[in-house]
Amino acid sequence: MSLSETFGAKARRQLLGSIPVAVGLVILGALLAVSALAQVLAPYNAKRATGGINEPPSLAHLFGTTGQGQDVLSQFLYGGQNTLWVAFSIAVLTTLLALIVALTAAYFRGWVDDLLTLVTNVFLVIPGLPLVVVLAAFLPPGPLTMIMVLTITGWAFGARLFRSQALSLREREFIAAAEDVGESRWRIVAVELLPNMGSVVAAYFVNQVIFAITAQASLEFLGLGDGGQITWGSMLFWAQNSSALIRGAWWTFVVPGMAIALTAFSLALINNAVDEIGNPRLRADRLLRRAGVSKPSATLMTPVKRDA
């Protein structure tokens, strides 16, 4: 599936016409917009106590207050800002790193490929979260540490994915044609291989945002983030720290938790739909349904006639 096919007018129509994608885009767009406008929208200073302790949602505090008397709505807005830029940075960096490793392997081949594949596999098999916890425990807390740690531990699967995609593309005729014409290997990688990996890269990037946002929240929940920074993860950390659930202050948990879950869910919806458009077999049943076939099954996929 080529870049032009992925982002072409037809594919765009298909994507936007699908209900899951529309739902995903609306949720994601709304979260991004309100976080970006936190400075304008936030009714209170998110760090100061502006109400009583653990006040339930009311008109003055739409999402209630925390165990420290801060406004949860304001924290949610500023937290979104801090959470999302870190998550997107991690997604960009891991995707770039994975692409560099995969394309270097595809370009040099031979022992360079073997070595990079070995390194990738080692990173893949060492469990992420425990390593992240140990790394984060030794480094000073802060957004840069977070980005560094999750980039180091998060790129390997992408490198493997991109490499196998590059390998399969390498066998296609148009690459052989480019080689016959005498194109340099560098040019083949940059002009022939890379653009054709568009849909795989896009899908991976979306998944990485999900990975980054949940991994970041997990670390912060463990107290390995910067507790002074307001993020969705640190909101959960402070809620847990002040035993908010046991005191019945469910809103201090539900707001940041739902924010994380909704972000991840909207991205997963978009990703799933992109997947379906890239994979004709998954798309087949929808087309059949539209054609008036109510229950497509294995028999429809194969020309075999079978008695009931």
Binding site: V122, V133, F138, L236, L245, A268, N272, T302, R306
Partner: protein
């Protein structure tokens, strides 16, 4: 056999890398945490304990390479030094206590979600386009979007705290682990249900979706046409031809899942104060008990490597293509 030997060599290398990272990490990070800790504890520990602590870090005046060799030797002998937060208990004793509980929770939940997810995925693919197939993916995606620990927190709040159906934390009611009679096992199960259920709930999605997509791919393969043409019963075609092949990617994922669940479980254990390795890691981190923390990282990593190797071996038995060589 060649394939298995190759995989074994790879896992040994991966273990070596993990051990090396573990050794160099505290020595290369800014602020030198190791000496900081020794300095912190130097007033509260006697000379002998301090020497033991220094030895645990390899904080001797020997050159780095010499320290590294000593460290490797210690790890090979299973000597990870002494825990600071439970001084003078050896780290290995602290870990030994949590290991069994982690295995119990991990295996229960990963096997349950693997079986349940594969069955759901196969059903969705077989009845493609039906209400079940259309409803399952979005629901599972939504559940899977929650961070492990968040769903665990909510379920803990509802089922353990509000409704009181399940005990609030720990793996058993009494101070010491119960005897393995009917009552004791029942007690352990009651403590297991809530944390295991949260892990199954969050991790079900990928199993189901992967199985569904693999099945849909398999259903249009020629050999299924052949099986149908031979007049085999649909149930037979489904179970012994389609499911068996479609299951392979999920079985590969099983190895990775053991790792993923160890990590996800880490947070679940903390929420439910389930006394496994994850809970111990959390306590080690908050108590700045670096020897315990590092040893836990190594033990978790080595367990994951061992699990992956077992799955690789199992895979050879299930997929004849791997036996003839090549990468899986």
């Amino acid at each position: 056999m060649y394939y298995i030997a190759k995989r074994l060599a790879f896992y040994v290398l991966a273990a070596f890398v993990a051990i090396t990272v573990n050794f160099f990490l505290p020595r290369l990070t800014p602020g030198d945490p190791a000496s900081t800790i020794v300095a912190t504890y130097s007033t509260s520990l006697n000379a002998e304990s301090l020497a033991a602590l220094k030895a645990a870090y390899g904080l001797t005046d020997e050159p780095l390479l010499q320290q590294y060799v000593t460290y490797l030797g210690n790890v090979l002998r299973g000597d990870f030094g002494r825990s600071l937060s439970n001084f003078p208990a050896p780290v290995m004793a602290v870990i030994g206590a949590g290991f069994g509980w982690s295995i119990l929770l991990g295996l229960t939940s990963v096997l349950l979600s693997f079986v349940l997810g594969s069955v759901l995925g196969a059903i969705a693919a077989w009845r493609r386009g039906g209400w079940f197939d259309r409803l399952t993916p979005p629901v599972l995606l939504f559940l899977g979007s929650f961070p492990y620990f968040f769903l665990a927190l909510l379920l803990f709040y509802v089922f353990c705290f509000k409704l009181g159906w399940f005990p609030m934390g720990n793996a058993y009611s009494s101070v010491n682990p119960p005897a393995l009679n009917l009552q004791g096992i029942g007690d352990i199960l009651m403590h297991l249900i809530a944390p295991a259920f949260t892990i199954v709930l969050v991790s079900l999605g990928p199993w189901t979706l992967n199985m569904r997509n693999a099945m849909i791919g398999v259903l249009s393969e020629d050999y299924l046409t052949l099986a149908e043409a031979k007049g085999l019963k649909p149930r037979r075609v489904l179970l012994s031809h389609a499911v068996r092949t479609a299951l392979l990617p999920n079985i590969t994922a099983l190895g990775a899942a053991v790792g993923a669940v160890f990590s996800g479980q880490l947070l679940t254990e903390i929420v439910f104060t389930y006394p496994g390795l994850g809970y111990a890691l959390m306590r080690a981190v908050s108590a700045v008990d670096y020897p315990l923390m590092q040893a836990l990282f190594l033990i978790i990593t080595l367990s994951v490597l061992a699990a992956n190797f077992l799955v690789d071996t199992l895979y050879v038995l299930l997929d004849p293509r791997v036996r003839t060589g090549g990468e899986a």
